[in-house]
Symmetry: C2
Subunit: 336 residues, 2 copies
């Protein structure tokens, strides 16, 4: 099947609404799932739908949540996501965040009691398209072991950064604090192959290349050793302690069979470069990227996604028949 982004998003929203989301919230979450599929980011596209639905069915997340937004200081926007999905909180906070950054030159959106199950770049890219620098961090349930520890405490804690360029779409990257994503280890177990050294530990805290040992009571390791651990720690502080969100080790999803998301927090920093660097900013970012290309850097983040996006917008999004049939079934199945 070849679908437009709007048609695909519509079906996804229908499936989510069928399983307990309010129509408005379903549209907001569906938009990021469809965008991931459009950009060829398969791990965060339709593959996630069973996880969304299982989590909704478990009662762990509130698909009808209505976030509460406050602005306790000129540069600070606080959002209580009310146990809903993060995308709903972002939509609720967007106007206040933009007002704050335009007025103060910089602003933070601090989200608590939220569930983030999507790719992270959709949270920053739209701000960069409006000329802002955006950095966001999310904590997740405990998954990684750091600084010589034996058991996991910090989450895979992803981070995404976006900044405008003068001559091209925003420069955007998005990365987890773990060396490999949990999903990659799941895939290795399913396919019956080992993972590289450095990816994880077994339940006794010993290095292993056996994906089952990592998943059954073991843990992932951070990227870049103790330095990646420093990043993961900072993310836990900014996304949870600063927002009032739960730490990864306070997650209670295990009490809700089927739940696949973490109830945690998110910190989003917005900076208006016009208030510091002036008009020169976007041109300078372009010059930096040009210097990297000239030095031979050919694997710039976001470029493959950008190419796939352009193709999808031109030719439509190719959805394999089996995936399309599964999606249709989700829009119709009984929700008992």
């Amino acid at each position: 099947m070849i679908l437009t982004e709007a048609a695909l998003a519509g079906l996804i929203a229908e499936a989510l609404a069928r399983h307990g989301m309010s129509a408005r919230n379903a549209v907001l979450v569906a938009a990021v799932v469809a965008a991931a599929e459009r950009d060829g980011a398969a791990s965060h596209g339709l593959l996630r739908m069973p996880g969304y639905i299982a989590t909704l069915k478990s009662g762990w997340v509130d698909g009808t949540a209505e976030p509460v937004v406050e602005r306790p200081a000129p540069a600070i926007v606080m959002v209580d996501a009310r146990n809903g999905f993060a995308q709903v909180a972002h939509a609720a906070a967007r106007e206040a965040g933009l007002a704050a950054v335009r007025e103060a030159g910089m602003a933070a959106i601090c989200i608590r009691d939220s569930h983030h199950f999507a790719a992270l770049w959709p949270d920053v890219e739209p701000f960069a398209e409006q000329g802002l620098v955006a950095l966001t961090v999310v904590n997740t349930r405990s998954r990684i072991v750091v600084w010589g520890g034996k058991r996991k405490v910090l989450g895979t804690n992803p981070m995404a950064f976006a900044c405008p360029r003068a001559d091209a779409p925003p420069f955007v990257w998005d990365q987890a604090s773990s060396l490999r994503a949990q999903g990659e280890v799941l895939l290795a177990r399913t396919e019956g192959h080992r993972v590289p050294e450095g990816v994880g530990l077994d339940a006794a805290g010993k290095p292993t290349t056996d994906p089952a040992a990592i998943l059954d009571g073991g843990a992932l390791l951070p990227f870049g050793g103790h330095k990646g651990a420093g990043i993961a720690f900072m993310i836990e502080v900014l996304a949870a302690a600063l927002t009032g969100g739960r730490f990864g080790f306070q997650d209670e999803s295990a009490k809700f069979p089927g739940a696949q998301t973490s109830n945690a927090g998110q910190f989003l920093l917005l900076i208006d470069p016009a208030r510091s660097a002036g008009d020169a900013f976007a041109g300078r970012v372009s010059a930096l990227v040009a210097a990297l290309r000239e030095a031979g850097s050919e694997r710039l983040p976001g470029e493959a996604r950008q190419r796939r996006r352009e193709q999808a917008l031109r030719d439509g999004i190719v959805v394999p028949d089996a995936a399309y049939q599964r999606l249709l079934a989700m829009t119709q199945e009984a929700t008992g």
Copy 2:
């Protein structure tokens, strides 16, 4: 010799003033050199003095610079360091930065045309001692190759983070974006041993473990592969493009024989957790650190430094005789 921190800082300031720094600026730079020596951070202590003096003699840095501070937006403080050392710019901006964060809940200090040759944690730790979260990034002259490139463009671009705790001094970390510091590679060459794989490339862009090949036209690699590269890129954008500072590849220190510093920029983010998380913040950071300890993490960043500091404050700072004599000579030598 055993010296108090004040006595050591006094001698260092005298040596810097002898080589062209204004008395006031010399005191500000001397404080961070003495603090590094106090904390046992030898690589940023007295070992750096020949580099400071050679750079001052070269005419590349202005030891008498008087920074200019502006506040173009409620949450933005801009500092033109006027080609002086970053520590002088920090002192000049401190009051405006604190006023901005108290008023707006968050603030950024953006420094351009500055030279940072010291450890980075002294730039964030004092803010955390006042209850603020502080994150800073500095760019440096080109030193690392990223994203499959052949030549260096980004700098070693360090980052430091500090946040208050309820039951202990602030939690502080400080790390470069390169896997290993340039100084470690210099030491390996001097001592005649190889460096581990992944540390650097030779002039042809090929992996090597020969420190001389890395130093003679080669380059360092980022920590954590493409993810560390993402961090280094973000730092280049925040520290240079956003502040109006030079990119690493625009550095002109080579025109000033003897110059060892980079003329670049620095971005410092301050957040007042009282305006978002309220009084709970410091206690929650303590709970997070306690959870990490309970999980077996024994190598938390900053702890060894904290122990050495306590010992130095109690017993004085031990300076080997040869280093002491060299320092005395710096306070007296002709400055031709």
